[in-house]
């Protein structure tokens, strides 16, 4: 029983930590890898979608590398989930997110 409780606490702790990491707000420069960015029509469509997020100051789509460099306005923070949702809504699968990239 004791073992089960310990495992339960560890599990809950890991879940909370994971959720906190996922929801950590984005700021400054952020590079997001995106699968399937080769098609220009879709890539610029993603650009159009991301532009709708309040606080996004600049977007640099790199079709060759399959990545998006987001510039977030100074003093602004954007929820990572909001960005990921926009990417998924545009029909793409988001990959690794690198924070603080200078491009």
């Amino acid at each position: 029983m004791k073992k089960l409780l310990i495992l339960l606490f560890i599990g809950l702790g890991a879940m909370t930590l994971n959720a906190q990491t996922e929801n950590k707000p984005l700021e400054g420069k952020v590079t997001i890898e995106v699968d399937g960015l080769a098609c220009p029509f879709c890539a610029y469509g993603l650009e159009k979608n991301l532009k709708q997020i309040e606080g996004v100051e600049s977007i640099d789509i790199n079709i060759d590398e399959g990545s998006v460099l987001l510039g977030i306005a100074e003093g602004k923070q954007i929820s990572e989930n909001v960005v990921l949702k926009k990417i998924k809504a545009a029909g793409f699968t988001p990959g690794t997110i690198k924070r603080g990239s200078d491009g």
């Binding site: 080769a38 098609c39 220009p40 029509f41 879709c42 610029y44 469509g45 650009e47 159009k48 532009k51 079709i63």
Partner: protein, 269 residues
């Protein structure tokens, strides 16, 4: 001797009846400025306009690739069209269709709002626009608007249409992510579906000549040539790198290579 003459005349008759079997063959490439990524083409006289959305511009070049003119500051110009001295440019990020004529720029008056216009075709008082994110074609005739298609994968439905061409009383749609060309009448009834069985993987552009039409098979780096009935005639693969547009000019065929700074030329022989 009589028999010989009969055979000779018959052979000559057969020879004269033999259909000329012309084929498109690779002719060469037009080198463009190093940073250019040509997406779409329009022919004006002896020169070519191409849209370069990566650089937010359009460039006019001669057939040697020398830059003659430019239009800058367009937020992702897509599949352009040239008709009666006017260059029509869909601006993907602002949902605007720009018209350039004699150095003047004006916005096309549209009675419907597209979401990411990817391509268009103008014939007299009729304009057809590929409404990429609304999965439909906007058809405006003398200011009257109607729509063709809706989102889906069945006959008559579209999934991210990129290019559209008006051909007589038919409308041909590059139904990009359904990997096919759909042919509609002006009432929106599907007349034909072409290309799926030929392995099309993202049909991004259509061009017509007298004999038929060409379709870009973007993800397979091919261009497929069809007759007017939609029967496959030839598959072009040589020196084609991610084609996003195709254009006929008499016995020449121009193909954009979006992944490099070139336009490929084929000739009918």
């Amino acid at each position: 001797m009589d028999r010989f003459l009969i055979v000779l005349v018959f052979s000559l008759f057969l020879f004269s009846c033999k259909k000329e079997n012309k084929e498109w063959t690779f002719k060469g490439k037009i080198e463009l400025p190093s940073k250019a990524r040509p997406l779409a083409l329009a022919k004006t006289g002896n020169d070519l306009w191409f849209s370069d959305p990566e650089q937010f511009r359009l460039l006019k070049v001669n057939l040697n690739g020398k830059v003659l003119d430019s239009i800058v500051g367009i937020k992702r110009p897509m599949n352009i069209d040239f008709n009666k001295g006017k260059l029509y440019v869909p601006e993907f990020l602002t949902d605007t269709i720009w018209i350039f004529e004699n150095g003047r720029k004006s916005a096309l008056s549209l009675n419907a709002t597209p979401e990411a216009p990817a391509g268009l075709n103008v014939k007299d008082d009729t304009i057809a626009i590929s409404d990429f994110y609304n999965h439909r074609i906007i058809l405006q005739i003398n200011g009257q608007v109607s729509f063709i298609g809706k989102e889906g994968h069945d006959r008559g439905e579209l999934y991210y249409p990129i290019d559209v061409k008006i051909q007589g009383d038919k409308i041909y749609v590059a139904d990009a992510y359904n990997n096919q060309v759909q042919v509609f009448d002006f009432e929106g009834k599907t007349l034909n579906v072409i290309g799926k069985e030929d392995g099309l993987n993202v049909a991004s552009a259509i061009a017509f000549n007298k004999e038929g039409f060409a379709v870009t098979d973007q993800e397979n780096s091919r261009v497929l040539i069809y007759d007017l009935n939609g029967t496959l005639q030839q598959i072009l693969t040589t020196n084609i790198n991610y084609p996003t547009d195709v254009l006929f000019d008499e016995n020449m065929l121009y193909i954009t290579n979006f992944k490099e700074n070139t336009i490929t030329l084929y000739q009918l022989n």
